[in-house]
Structure formats: C-alpha cells, structure tokens
C-alpha cells in the first residue's frame, strides 16, 4: 500500500507515492537522484546520510520517507545559493577538510546545524558536534579547521589560513 508524500527538497516541491518502508535516504537518492547524501552504515552511526530537515540535522538512513511528509529538506546539493558556495563548502576546500569525499556531505550538514545554533563554537564544541559523524581519511584535524574557517567567515572575522 503506497502512501502519498508532499515535501520540499532544496526549495523545490515534490509529491510522490512511496512504500511505507522506504527510507528517506533511499527516496532522496533513488527517486530524486540526489546522490550527494550517502549511506555508510545501517545503524545510524556514521553520519554520512546527514541532511537538514526543517533546519535540523538528521540522519536520514533512520527515517522513513513518510516521516518527511510536509517537511522542508536541505541536502548537500541545495546548500550553495545562486552558485555561491556556502562558507562551510568553501571552508572544507580551503582547509583540506576532505579526502575521499564520502563523509563530507554529512559532515557539512552536521556543521551547518552546529553553526546555526552556535555561531562561534570552540574546538571542543566542534569536536563534540561531530561525534556522530565518522571520517576515516582526515583524522578530523582539517575538518575542525574547515568549520572554524566557516564560522570565522560567517562572523566576518579575519580568516587566518
């Protein structure tokens, strides 16, 4: 028995019939073909699938698509505005915050949530916020620096690279 869902993803309205058991991450990846949101585990541990749902970072591998009915979702594909990279996207590039790139969208979306609640986080606060996101490449060092870069840019502080 399929269910109708209506939702907004990256500013665009969508309406689809989905199976009740379809995970939100599979809906985004397979139906909307927004493949920037990744699946790295099956226990909502790794954070690769993190998106913003109504402004809050959520792991969409452990949400059903039907739970997103009526929601406003932002994925990594929708973060840049009018072709201008979000300060976090810029920060990850400037500070070499990614290597293989697989965890990166989840990291950026988690950090976006952090910065929207705490515009000037300490290193400790950044590390704590990233607790639910695994990166196997960077040792987190440059991810922390990337988020500091973005925070400084958002706060219009001088960026020291």
């Amino acid at each position: 028995m399929k269910k109708q869902i209506n939702l907004t993803v990256n500013g665009k309205a969508y309406s689809h019939e989905v199976e009740p058991r379809t995970l939100l991450v599979h809906y985004l990846r397979d139906t909307l073909r927004l493949t920037g949101t990744h699946v790295g585990c099956d226990t909502s541990s790794c954070g690769s699938c993190t998106i913003l749902m109504d402004g809050q970072a959520v792991k969409c591998c452990s949400l059903l698509a039907v739970q997103a009915d009526g929601a406003n979702i932002t994925t990594i594909e929708g973060l840049a505005e009018n072709g201008t990279l979000h300060p976090l996207q810029e920060g990850f590039r400037e500070e070499h915050g990614l290597q293989c790139g697989f965890c990166t969208p989840g990291m950026i979306m988690t950090a976006a949530d952090l910065l929207s609640n705490n515009a000037d986080p300490s290193e400790e606060e950044i590390r704590h916020a990233l607790e639910g996101n695994f990166c196997r490449c960077t040792g987190y060092h440059n991810i922390v620096k990337s988020i500091q870069y973005a925070a400084n840019k958002i706060n219009k502080k001088e960026v020291v690279s």
Binding site: R21, G40, Q99, G101, I108, E124, F134, R136, G139, Y140
Partner: protein
C-alpha cells in the same frame, strides 16, 4: 610561471565532493538494472547439507537465485602472491569459490545470491532461501589454529598451516647473540585484528552489452586494471579487451579495496547470464564480515642489549592469520612487508624472524594501511620503550644510541639490512631531535613528575619508524613470490591547443591525484594548472596500471608521469628548433617556452603543440602529434621514516586514556603538495591511534564476529582526538626523478606504538609493563587494580 611543485595548491577534485556531485559506484543506476543480495553463512564453520531456493524464486520481483552448484565450474578468486614453506614446498592455496558449495569457512561466507527487480525484493527473498547447515567447531586464533587437533579450515592444509617462513641471519647466530647479551627484553603480545572501515561500503555493478559482446564492471576498487586482469584471466576466462573496469570516485580504501572480491566476479558473470545490469552494494554488516581485515599477529619477541644499551640481536616468532581464504596479497603481508622491516632504524647486528601463517575460521586478512610495516614497527618500538624502562635508560637516548648513521644514497651507499633490504637514503637523528623539541621533552618530564605527586598519571611514548613503500621493483618482488609486476603507467596527451590530458594507472580514493599529478605536469611544462586534466579509474581510457596501495602513487606513478613529460619536452624541442631555425642544443625550455639561448627568440608550449598537430612547417621525418606513454619500474623501494611522540593522561579512577598531544615528524622525501601530505599524516596517525585505543575485530570462540557493527566496533571519533602537531625533514629519494618517498601509510605505521608506549609510561608506577590493544578503560583499570 610560479613553480607548482612544493605548493599547497587547493584540491581540484573538491568542487564535486563539496557540492554532492561525486560519483561513487552506488550512485549509478543503469537502465533495466537488477539488484543482488547475498545469503551468508551465520556459522563460522558448517557443512552445507542442502540449499532450497524454491520459495525465494517464487517471491514477487525475484528473477534468479544462484548457489555454489551454479558457479562450481567457474574458477575461484586467485591469490596474487606465493610464499613457499621453509622446506621449499608451495604454500597451501585452497580454492576460494565465488559461492561455497559444501562448506562455509567463516561467518558471512556467501552461500547463495538472490537477484531481484528491487533492493527490497532481493533482501526479502534472502530470508526465504532455506539452507540446512551442520555447524562444526571453529578456530579463530592464529596460534591456536596451528595446534594439533584444531578444527581444520581446509582439509588439505594440515594444522591449518598455509606456510612457514623465515628471514634474517642464521638462527644459531641470533640465538648466540641473544644468549650473550647483558640484558634481554622479552614481550609476548597480539597485534590485534582490525577492520579497515572505508566509509563507502564496497559496491559493484556488472553490465553486459550483447551487441558488442562487451562487459563493464563498475567497482569501488583501488586498482581497476589489476581487477580486470584477475577477473578475465583467472576467474571468468573472458578476454581483457572485452572488459571495461570503471572505478570513478571511491570512498576510501585503506587496503581493503585493493583485492579482487568474489562479488565483483559474480555481478559480472550474472550480468551476462541475465542480460541485465546487476548491482550489489554491501551494507555495513556485510562490510564488517567480508571486507578483508588487517593485522592479527600473535608474537613473541626477544631483543638483546649490551651493557651500554646497544642492541645485540632480535629474535621473533609470529603467528599470522590468513583467515578462511587467501585474499589477493595476504601471504606477502606478514612476510615480505613485515619480516623485512625488522631492522627498523637500528644497527641490530643479528635478526631472525620466523612466521607461521595459518588459516582460521574468520574473514580473510590482507593489507590494511601499512600492511606488515605497522606490525614490524609496533614490535620494535614496544621493545625499545620496554627495554629502556627495564634498563633504566631514557627511551629517546636508547634510540639515538642505536640509530643507523646518516647516508644519502648518492655518494654514500644505501644501508644494507640483515633482512634483505637496502635502504635508499636516511638521516634519522633529526626527526627524533625535532620531535623532542616540539614536545618540550625536558619540561614534560618535570610536568609528569609534578603531576604524579598530585595523583595525575601522564605518560609519554615514542616511536621511530621506517617503512618500505613505492612498491615495487617488479623483478625483486617477482623473485619473492609476487605474481604481478608492480610498475606504473602514464600517458601524457598534449592536445593541439596545448591543453594536457594525463592518464595514470594510479588510482585516487582520497589521495588527491587530480591535484598533485597536475602540479607536476603544470610545473614541468610551465603551464597553468587549469590546463591539465588527470584521468584515472577507467580501463578504457587508461592504457594500463597497477593501482594505488603501498604509498606508491607518486613514487612509482609520478615517476612514470615524469618519463612521459620528458618525452614530450624532447619531441617539443625538435619541433621548436625547426620552427625557430635553431639547433636543438641552442634551445632551453623553461616557463612554458623554448628560447634560443642568449636571444629573445622563443616559441611557446601552445604553439609547439599546435604545430605538432598542424604539421605544415615541420621537421622532416618526425611523426605528427604530441602524445607519449611510459612504463616506470622502480629500481628499489623507497624508505620514508619519522619520529612520533604521544602524550596521554590516564584517569586513575576509571582507567580512561585521553590522548593529550600527538607529535609527528615525518620524512617522506620531497613533497609536491604539503597540504595533502599533512592530511595523509593526520589521517594515518588517527587510524593508528584507533588501533591503539579503540578498535578490535573480536571473534568469539565459535567464530561469531562480536564487533560486527558500529555499535560494537569502536571507531575514533572527532572528540577522541587532539589536533595533530606535524613537521617534516626532507631526505630526497635518490632513485626516482621527483625524489619522493610516499606518505600514505606513514601515520598509521608510526603512531600505534607511540600511544601504547605512552600509556605504559603513565602506568609505570603500577609496575604494568605490557597490555593488549586496544587500551580500553576496562583493561587499563584492571591493570592498575590487580
């Protein structure tokens, strides 16, 4: 034109990754595609009495179910490295079937595969395949596996021994050296099994084009051409020119994606059987059960010293697990990548290493970041810090005393070890000296003493390592049992407008080749970075390649690249000389143009390129075009080295270990992009820290993987780790054109023992000398309270 080599150029590839436009294998959906899901043995060791697929086949959406019987005629997955017994007898090499027929040999062994119209239908139907198992006793410990009466993994491998092997000085000489020593340090320990955990799970799509009789395999691999070779020549028996292997963006590898896996061959084979593309993507549970694991040694090591603390000898016995089947490079890891590194940075005059490789009822073990070299380094560096403690010497001083003196490998010979290698160039004192300065060693010792007074446990641990990378001279590794050459291939195609397309057999799964390789090309040609495009990961574009592992991309692939660049410049010089009406010897090439020496007459790179493709005014007898390929086979391994220092605090009440500081001073030869090299070191260090503090693949006695999910397998998280303090010294590699040594594995090789040594130092007031990794709160607390 600014020099590009040595600059921290921002990565070219990042744009697609930070905008969600990367293309990993699971992102691909082909028209008419079907999905595979595996039926896997829940037992580590079981006879398969029957497999009933009827109910699964009747499930809506299910197209086919294949069992071991269906693929019994297909060859198994081959092993790429042969190590013989001491007796000369060939290693035991049992067949590794694509799907098992009679017997499962580890939990997760594939028994059948369901193909369906959707992922969900395939997954549902897996539960409907009825397999009748008879569970058998299992053995999971590499040493216990060799004991008489242990359950056999393969009937034709008595005592589960795959091979035994030795290297070094004659055993009697080593025995005598140790017997005559003033002090002998002995440690028995496990280098525990860990799971690589690339965050992208393995994913494969097989496709068959009947019109052209051509297969395409999309695969998350580190080496597409080797996979094609193994798949075609050894498993499926199909001609290579009819197979394209594509591995575009790959989400980390760390060794686990080097190897040819059965699932790759199966999706390719089934795609033709069904005439439809077949996709399989591992879920994380399958990744834990089936991605080749790393390490898993059980070791006894004895190191002798004279009265002054000079090392007199080293004797090692190691049992190394191969797992249930031989993975692609498994036999090389505990032997030629481990035994050969036991000289370390030290002048140890006598060394003997004895390795017994055993089959166990577990997932296969193969190369994992560092592969053998972390095991060797862990052994040596734990011995050094333990010996220093026992002899009442300073661990840094003990190392300085025993370091091999500096040699540049140019006018001073490379250092010949007792374990079959000749180091290329080395200068070991400065890395440790620099690390001691960075840590503020004297001040730390004072701080530590004061902290102890106040009941706070601080510890410092050292690790000075060497590794062999830039793998490898083909003839050398061939003599040691490799069934492949380990050269690398490049093609530099200068387009008519002077834009450059580079095709490399190296493969990036995070290393940033699209940037580093482009820097080399832009620098040598004197052209903007944007004029260079690096293509990798597609066997239809790239002529050939041996892929990326063993920190080989720049040392071997970069050298192949330089060879092609030099050929372009040489031909360009002929064209420029003709156009400028000058002798070739009168030209110099710099900053992107050929200039007649001492004049202002010149022609640019773009004009020469155009002339090569519009050869109107052109040297007689010279072929048009500007496009060269090169194969580069290195003459030696490269030998990066470094000094790592960890500072930890141990909570007296809970046993919790906190990593307070980590200092890494590495010498990886010349550096093309310092930002990328630092990133490699950070990541490697944290993987090594992960092994020391958190990670362990734990099988219970029945062979069940207890740590089979992220809920149970502890990965290092952002809040477990401090900022990594890095610095470098530079000792160029004397035998490759860029002078580079490789940086991918250094961090993971050096860091693990530094952390364990630091914890042992913190626990020294309790008389604790040796603890097993990982150093969990529980084990540390028990050690303090026993």
């Amino acid at each position: 034109m600014t020099k590009m080599i040595g600059k921290s150029v921002k990565r070219v590839e990042d744009k697609r990754f930070i905008t969600g436009k990367g293309q990993y294998t699971d992102d691909i959906i082909l028209p008419n595609m079907v999905y595979a899901h595996f039926v896997r043995s829940p037992y580590a060791h079981a006879k398969i009495l029957s497999v009933d697929t009827a109910e699964a086949l009747a499930h809506p959406g299910v197209i086919a179910v294949y069992t071991g019987a269906d693929v019994a005629e297909v060859n198994g997955v081959p092993c790429g490295w042969q190590v013989n017994f001491k007796s000369g007898e060939t290693m035991k090499e049992p067949k590794h079937p694509l799907l098992v027929v009679n017997k499962a040999r580890h939990a997760g062994d594939a028994v059948a595969v369901v193909i369906a119209e959707s992922k969900e239908a395939a997954r549902d139907a897996v539960d409907l395949v009825e397999v009748d198992y008879e569970e058998l006793d299992a053995v999971v410990d590499p040493k216990k596996a060799a004991e008489d009466g242990a359950p056999l993994v393969h009937e034709d491998a008595p005592n589960n021994i795959c091979f035994d092997w030795e290297l070094g000085n004659p055993k009697e000489e080593v025995d005598a050296a140790i017997a005559g020593s003033a002090h002998v340090t002995t440690l028995e320990f496990a280098n525990q099994r860990v799971i690589p955990n690339a965050i992208e799970p393995r994913s494969y799509i097989g496709d068959y084009d009947v019109a052209h009789d051509k297969y395409t395999l999309y695969t998350s691999t580190q080496n597409p051409h080797l996979i094609r070779l193994l798949l075609c020549a050894f498993v499926l028996g199909i001609p290579e020119h009819k197979v394209r292997v594509v591995s575009k963006d790959v989400g980390g590898g760390f060794g686990s994606k080097i190897f040819h896996y059965a699932e790759e061959a199966l999706v390719t084979w089934i795609a033709k059987e069904l005439g439809r593309p077949v996709k399989w993507t591992a879920d994380r549970s399958e990744a834990f059960l089936t991605d080749a694991h790393g390490r898993d040694h059980v070791t006894k090591a004895e190191m002798g010293f004279d009265e002054e603390g000079n090392i007199t000898g080293l004797r090692i016995k190691t049992y190394a697990a191969m797992g249930g089947y031989l993975s692609t490079f498994a036999p090389a890891v505990p032997t030629y990548l481990h035994g050969t590194l036991l000289q370390g940075l030290y002048t140890t005059p006598k060394i003997h290493v004895d390795v017994v490789a055993t089959f166990t009822h577990t997932c296969a073990v193969d190369a994992y970041r560092g592969a053998g070299r972390p095991e060797a380094t862990y052994l040596l560096e734990r011995m050094l810090d333990t010996a220093a403690l026992e002899m009442g010497m300073d661990p840094a001083e003990l190392r300085f005393k025993n370091f091999i003196p500096a040699f540049n490998g140019v006018d001073e010979e490379g250092y010949v070890t007792n374990v079959a290698l000749q180091y290329d160039s080395g200068n070991y004192h400065p890395v440790l000296q620099r690390a001691l300065e960075m840590v503020g060693y004297e001040d730390f010792r004072k701080e530590q003493a004061a902290a102890r007074e106040n009941g706070k446990l601080l510890g410092i641990g050292f690790s000075t390592y060497i590794e062999a990378c830039g793998i490898a001279p083909s003839a050398v590794v061939g003599a040691l049992g490799a069934r492949a050459g380990l050269f690398e291939v490049s093609q530099v195609r200068v387009q008519p407008t002077g834009m450059v397309s580079v095709y490399t057999g190296a493969h990036s799964h995070g290393q940033g080749h699209e940037t580093t390789f482009a820097q080399v090309v832009a620098d040598k040609f004197g052209i903007p970075l944007e004029h260079v495009d690096i293509v990798h990961g597609d066997s239809d574009s790239v002529a050939f390649g041996m892929g990326t592992y063993g920190s080989r991309s720049l040392a071997v692939g970069g050298s192949a690249l330089v060879k092609s660049i030099e050929k372009v410049i040489e031909k360009g010089t002929k064209i420029a000389a003709h156009v400028l009406e000058a002798a070739e010897d009168d030209l110099e090439f710099a900053d992107g143009k050929w200039t007649v020496k001492g004049t202002d007459k010149s022609i640019g790179f773009g004009d020469v390129s155009l002339t090569a493709y519009v050869p109107h005014n052109y040297p007689a007898g010279l072929e048009p075009g500007l496009d060269f390929s090169s194969f580069y086979d290195p003459t030696n391994f490269t030998y990066p080295f470094g000094a790592h220092i960890a500072i930890v605090e141990v909570d007296k009440d809970t046993g919790k270990v906190s990593l307070k500081r980590f200092i890494a001073v590495d010498d990886v030869g010349n550096v093309i992009n310092p930002m990328i090299v630092d990133g490699q070191i950070h990541g490697g260090v944290v993987q090594g820290v992960g092994q020391a503090m958190f990670e362990q693949a734990h099988y219970d006695e029945d062979g069940q993987l207890i740590t089979g999910s992220y809920m149970d397998y502890a990965m290092p998280r952002a809040d477990d780790i401090p900022m990594i303090e890095t610095d470098r010294t530079t000792t160029p590699c004397p035998h490759n054109p860029l002078g580079v040594k490789g940086a991918g594995e250094a961090g993971a090789i050096g860091s693990t023992p530094a952390v364990v040594n630091a914890v042992m130092d913190a626990l020294s007031p309790f008389g604790v000398k040796n603890l097993s990794m990982p150093l969990t709160s529980e084990s540390v607390w028990r050690a303090m309270n026993s």
